[in-house]
Amino acid sequence: MKSRKDLWSLYSEKVMEHFQNPRNVGEMQSPDGIGHAGNPVCGDIMELYIKVKDDIIIDAKFKTFGCGAAIATSSILTEMVKGKTIEEAMKISNKAVAEALDGLPPIKMHCSVLAEEALGLAIEDYLAKSKRK
């Protein structure tokens, strides 16, 4: 029965790896930008925190309530944005997030959309805050 399960598996190995060992979990002390995406009705809530220095995202953290795909996309997103300029980070699409995880099941693609949204909102928040300064 074991070999069958490997063939069947819902998620890619990469998704399961990030799900089991999520990177950059937790809240951030005085972040430069916060993005909240999702809602309780759909069952996924993502919070992304970013720290920015000289227009470069130097740190990212997340907290997520959601399924395996939601946790894995949040985790890989924090890895993807680190070291990127704001402009570069703004170009990260949901497709790129899904591809970085070796794909997501079609029904879970909305989790990658959520990740893109959270990132967009965190950047928006950063830009709004930096204008005020």
Partner: protein, 389 residues
């Protein structure tokens, strides 16, 4: 790795004696029960013997049992069959908000074709109030369908009282007893029900076979049209091995049900109290006592169900959830929402259903692993603010 199956409400393993009883009917006993020759008549004898066993388990007469391909088919048969047989008398059906999709969807289908359906609410424990049933009846009501026990939360409904109300008004009463037959005593005369849906694979029978009990005299339109099988009520060559296995499962259930119920109830209560003792912010879903002996359904606040299932699966525990994330329609369980649970709690639900292979050691293993998993996921959850509650 150790594997623990706690999803018996989804399906059960076929009992070895059931399998043994089935096997000859694939090979030597391959005949078509509709054939006149000895091959056919042997197969016919086997299904009639099985019919008697199914009937005996629920206190029915064998001619009142119609074999189907599943519990879902039995539900469809009952709802649509009665609706079409009685539409000249009225087009109103009463059911509940927590029925299985196999009842709700045929009702929705009928709504699109001019029928009116009342979906009765339930209280916070999932109980239907018989007074609500009484109030909902109109001169147009032709069918009342209330499940015997809910498959998700395990609440056992007062169907005896509801059936009496239906009887007094001369309205046909159907119950989906897929979760109870084979586990709890079900007697069609004591309950005064007209139609009962049963599924074999929920109590160690094979998949692909079920039955609809149809009380003698009940007006119902055939489910499939074709040959004269099942007295013309359900055309199609019978699944002989499946039906034989179903009969055997009924025979075994009748013998073992009483003891097994007590054993499971003890394990269930140990699991529930163990979880409540070890984890904070947990809610038991379903009725505390009036519930299936093998059902545990809890909401673990701040943690999403699918991520719990995946983590449990990684340590070998198979469970289920009412979270949208694990469904293909991305909607939280209609049953949990009907209890009045906010969406967060519906998404945080975990169902563990016990069965004949479950041991006390399995329960201890779950009680060791589950708190670790919940702790790990809560650290990740933006909804979890320790100390703020």
């Amino acid at each position: 790795m150790r594997r623990i199956y706690l999803d018996y409400a989804a399906t059960t393993p076929t009992h070895p004696l059931v399998l043994k009883a089935m096997l000859p009917w694939f090979t030597d006993g391959f005949g078509n029960p509709a054939s006149i020759h000895s091959f056919g008549q042997e197969a016919k004898g086997a299904i009639e013997e099985a019919r008697e066993k199914v009937a005996r388990l629920i206190g029915a007469k064998s001619e009142e049992i119609v074999f189907t391909s599943s519990g879902t088919e039995a539900d469809n048969f009952a709802i649509k069959g009665v609706a079409y047989a009685k539409e000249h008398k009225g087009k109103h059906i009463i059911t509940t908000a927590i029925e299985h999709h196999a009842v709700i969807e045929p009702c929705k289908f009928l709504e699109k074709r001019g029928f009116k359906v009342t979906y009765l609410p339930v209280d916070k424990d999932g109980l239907v109030d018989p007074r609500h049933v009484k109030k909902a009846i109109t001169d147009e009501t032709i069918l009342i369908s209330v499940m015997h026990a809910n498959n998700e939360i395990g609440t056992i409904e007062p169907i005896k009282e509801i059936a009496r109300i239906a009887n007094d008004r001369g309205i046909c009463f159907h119950t989906d007893a897929v979760q109870t037959v084979g586990h709890l005593p079900v007697d069609v005369d004591e309950l005064k029900v007209d139609l009962v849906s049963i599924s074999a694979h929920k109590f160690c029978g094979p998949k692909g076979v079920g039955a609809l009990y149809i009380r003698k005299g009940t007006k119902i339109v055939p489910f499939m049209h074709g040959g004269e099988q099942e007295h013309g009520r359900r055309a199609s060559t019978q699944n002989v091995p499946g039906i034989v296995g179903f009969g055997k499962a009924c025979e075994l259930a009748q013998k073992e049900m009483g003891q097994e119920k007590v054993r499971l109830q003890t394990l269930r209560d140990k699991l529930i109290s163990g979880i409540l003792d070890r984890i904070d912010d947990v809610r038991l879903n379903g009725h505390p006592t009036q519930r299936l002996p093998n059902n545990v359904n809890i909401s673990l606040e701040f943690v999403e169900g699918e991520s719990m299932l995946l983590n449990l699966d990684l340590v070998g525990i198979a469970a289920s959830t009412g979270s949208a994330c694990s469904s293909s329609v991305l909607e939280a369980s209609h049953v949990l929402l009907a209890l009045g649970l906010p969406h967060e709690l519906a998404h945080s639900s975990l169902r563990l259903t016990l069965g004949q292979e479950t041991t006390e050691k399995d329960i201890d293993y779950v009680l060791e692993k589950l708190p670790q998993i919940v702790k790990k996921l809560r650290v990740m959850s933006p909804l979890y603010k320790p100390g703020k509650k």
